[in-house]
């Protein structure tokens, strides 16, 4: 809740520190949907988590905000371990971490007015009534739902308007960290842009910190400072947006980025088609991506030894680029052959072997 200087607080300890997070589902033959996941989020930062269905990104979101319990590992917010909190102590801390869900239709009580919906979190967390009205009006104005919108009911709102109400409900508490779980996936493109812009403006104004969970790579690139790529419950690559999208080192990241449809004429890299079918579970041994990997499918080490997430060697230092791969940087999506414009990689560290298919 303390007023946050949007300045460089990055030097200190991370705001959110997750270590070795595990979350399993199922009885006797349970499976760890998240398997030893670690991540840091610094104050004022937007960290993206991307991956395809089943990679554990929504499980991560729910575990972080304690909607689901955690089997193993720590989730520290400013040094307080949220994973160990129970009861009243957990409720007290809850206002510091908020969540915005994907479905703006299912997450709002249809019988409450917009004003009541935005006031509710304040009431729950004990803000005195005489302070609430001003905070609510301010928040509603910020998300463009002031005036007569405040008295409407959710069914009278469009998808984008509902999502703005959901955002207002989360941000009115001035949370330290806000987990955004696919906040724009259910919206039309022209509305997506509006919601992203709103989120960014509020971030600048209030010094907010976001964890942005998405399958939309273009949105992640546009919106996030750093991005984690998740595959079957493990982080396979972490890098700044710029670095990840310019030079992904993990073959899965490279394939994923190349697979996104791109407007004709703007495609820079050929698509990398993956082998076979996505797996529903991590294999017992080896790299979880090995069976689909253009680089490692026929390599012994990839099938037998799981690679650790380690700092990428040779990459421009300081960015904190990390990758979990035995052969990072080996798969390079071919530049589109149209105008074979020679783009000499300035300091390509890895032997950029081409033509891996």
């Amino acid at each position: 809740m303390a007023e946050v200087e949007p300045s460089e607080a990055a030097a200190g300890a991370p705001l959110l520190r997750v270590r070795d997070l595990r979350r399993s589902y199922g009885g006797p033959r349970s499976y760890a949907v998240l398997d030893g996941l670690s991540l840091d989020v610094r104050r004022g930062e937007t960290v993206g988590v991307v991956g395809e269905s089943g990679c554990g990104k929504s499980t991560l979101a729910r575990a972080l905000v304690r909607l689901d319990p955690v089997d193993h590992g720590t989730v520290e917010l400013d040094g307080v371990d949220l994973a160990s909190l129970r009861g009243a102590a957990l409720r007290r801390e809850r206002r510091r971490f908020q969540m915005v869900f994907q479905d703006p239709f299912g997450s709002l009580d249809p019988r409450m007015t917009v004003r009541q919906l935005v006031e509710q979190p304040l009431a729950v967390h004990g803000t005195p009534p005489h302070l609430r009205a001003r905070l609510v009006e301010e928040m509603l104005d910020d998300v463009g739902l002031g005036g007569d919108f405040a008295d409407r009911l959710p069914p009278a709102l469009s998808g984008g308007q509902r999502q703005r109400v959901a955002i207002a409900r989360a941000l009115v508490l001035r949370p330290d960290i806000t987990v955004l779980d696919e906040p724009i996936s259910a919206l039309d493109v022209s509305v997506q842009a509006q919601v992203l812009t709103l989120l960014r403006r509020e971030q600048r104004r209030l010094g907010l910190t976001y964890l942005f969970i998405t399958h939309d790579l273009a949105a992640a690139e546009h919106f996030c400072d750093r991005v984690l790529v998740l595959y079957l419950g493990r982080v396979v690559e972490v890098a700044t947006s710029e670095e990840l999208f310019a030079s992904p080192l993990h073959p899965y990241s490279a394939a994923l980025l190349s697979a996104a449809p791109q407007p004709r004429g703007t495609r820079q890299r050929e698509r990398v088609l993956l082998r076979g079918e996505p797996l529903a579970r991590r294999p017992e041994a080896g790299c979880p991506f090995a069976s689909r990997c253009p680089v490692g499918h026929d390599r012994e080490v990839c099938r037998t030894t799981a690679p650790e997430l380690v700092p990428a060697s040779g990459v421009a230092a300081g960015g904190g680029h990390q990758v979990a791969c035995h052969f990072p940087g080996e798969l390079v999506a071919q530049p589109v052959g149209r105008t074979a414009a020679p783009t000499p990689a300035p300091d390509a560290p890895a032997p950029a072997r081409k033509g891996v298919r």
């Binding site: 022209s190 992203l196 273009a218 546009h222 394939a255 791109q262 004709r264 703007t266 996505p278």
Partner: protein, 339 residues
């Protein structure tokens, strides 16, 4: 629509299609010509009528919906939407439809093989069991499902999302239709799987010569996959544009605004995206004149009077065979700066 540059008979020709639910007209005069082997995209936001067009063409409108005007011709013969038996013959053999969600389109209690076989028998009742089985395996192979013999005996829940969509496409092309209408066929799929399914559609166009109408909200996808794109707004096609010139050459203010709201690669990070103010008008209470005018940055007073004219932005050049006409339904189409 004007004369096609290709001499071949269009695979599908739609003129002035109108669809109403009760008193509300949701498709308000849509023209669409698809030539054999062509890939045409129909894009627009929710509620623009794009899926209704797909359902209407198949004669599958929900109760209360009806085609109130227009003419639809498939491979040269006019479709009569009041003749259920003729529609039955047409569906699958001339026009086929693939829906967004393969899990709800496939019957969970029937094997994949029996569902493909059902489609085959529908149009070729005299086909022998052995021939049906062989053809089913052939179709599964054609859509890229490995081990077809084993897969034919499996049930939908044993297939992954991408494989289900492949199976559904196998059902759709079983009777060699002239046009495959795909309504958001990859929206429920992950990007890497989507890339595989799009590749499959491409290979079907090349291999079977089927034409594809891709209905989607994903402008990136249509512009990459399709030859031509129709942009719909409030029940009308507001722009028809060759994919090559969509980005950078769109003429309708709505299309341009949509494109500007996309976080495309290369757009500087931190730069705010543009968005379209307001919301699409309810179809039951359309504004007078151009439906987009109230939200349009380029609107002038006269835009709110009368139907906006369809303006030819560029004619296909004779030299570039296969390029399409570029038209926009906007009185200021030629004034809006493109690029």
């Amino acid at each position: 629509m004007s004369a096609a540059p290709s001499p071949a008979l269009p695979a599908l020709s739609v003129e002035g299609l109108r669809v109403a639910y009760g008193d509300v007209e949701v498709v308000r005069g849509v023209d669409l010509v698809v030539r054999p082997g062509e890939k045409v995209g129909v894009v627009g936001e929710s509620g623009c009528g794009k899926s209704t067009v797909a359902l209407a063409l198949m004669g599958l409108l929900a109760t209360g919906g009806s085609v109130t005007g227009g003419a639809v011709t498939v491979s040269g013969s006019r479709v009569d939407y009041h003749d259920e038996r003729a529609l039955d013959r047409m569906r699958g053999s001339q026009l086929s439809l693939v829906f967004q969600d393969p899990l709800t389109s496939l019957d969970p209690v029937k094997s994949i093989g029996s569902q493909i076989a059902e489609a085959l028998r529908r149009h070729s009742p005299r086909m022998s069991r052995a021939a049906v089985r062989a053809r089913c395996a052939e179709l599964l192979t054609a859509v890229g499902v490995p081990e077809p013999e084993r897969r034919l005996r499996q049930y939908p829940h044993e297939f992954s999302g991408g494989m289900r969509q492949r199976a559904l496409i196998a059902v759709a092309v079983a009777n060699d239709p002239a046009v495959l209408i795909a309504d958001e066929p990859t929206t429920a799929l992950d990007v890497t799987t989507q890339a595989q399914v799009v590749d499959l559609l491409d290979s079907l166009v090349d291999g079977l010569g089927v034409a594809v109408v891709l209905v989607t909200h994903d402008i990136g996808l249509v512009s990459e996959f399709c030859d031509r794109v129709l942009v719909m707004y409030a029940g009308r096609v507001v722009e028809e544009v060759p994919s090559d010139v969509l980005f950078g050459g769109a003429a309708h203010p709505y299309t341009r605004a949509l494109l500007e709201s996309l976080p495309v690669p290369g757009r500087p990070r931190g730069e705010d995206l543009a968005w379209i103010p307001g919301a699409p008008p309810p179809l039951s209470a359309l504004p007078p004149g151009c439906s987009f005018a109230p939200r349009c940055a380029w609107a002038q007073p006269e835009c709110s009077v009368g139907t906006p004219p369809r303006v030819v932005v560029s004619e296909p050049s004779v030299a570039a065979l296969g390029t399409a006409l570029h038209t926009a339904e906007c009185r200021r189409a030629l004034e809006v700066p493109r690029g």
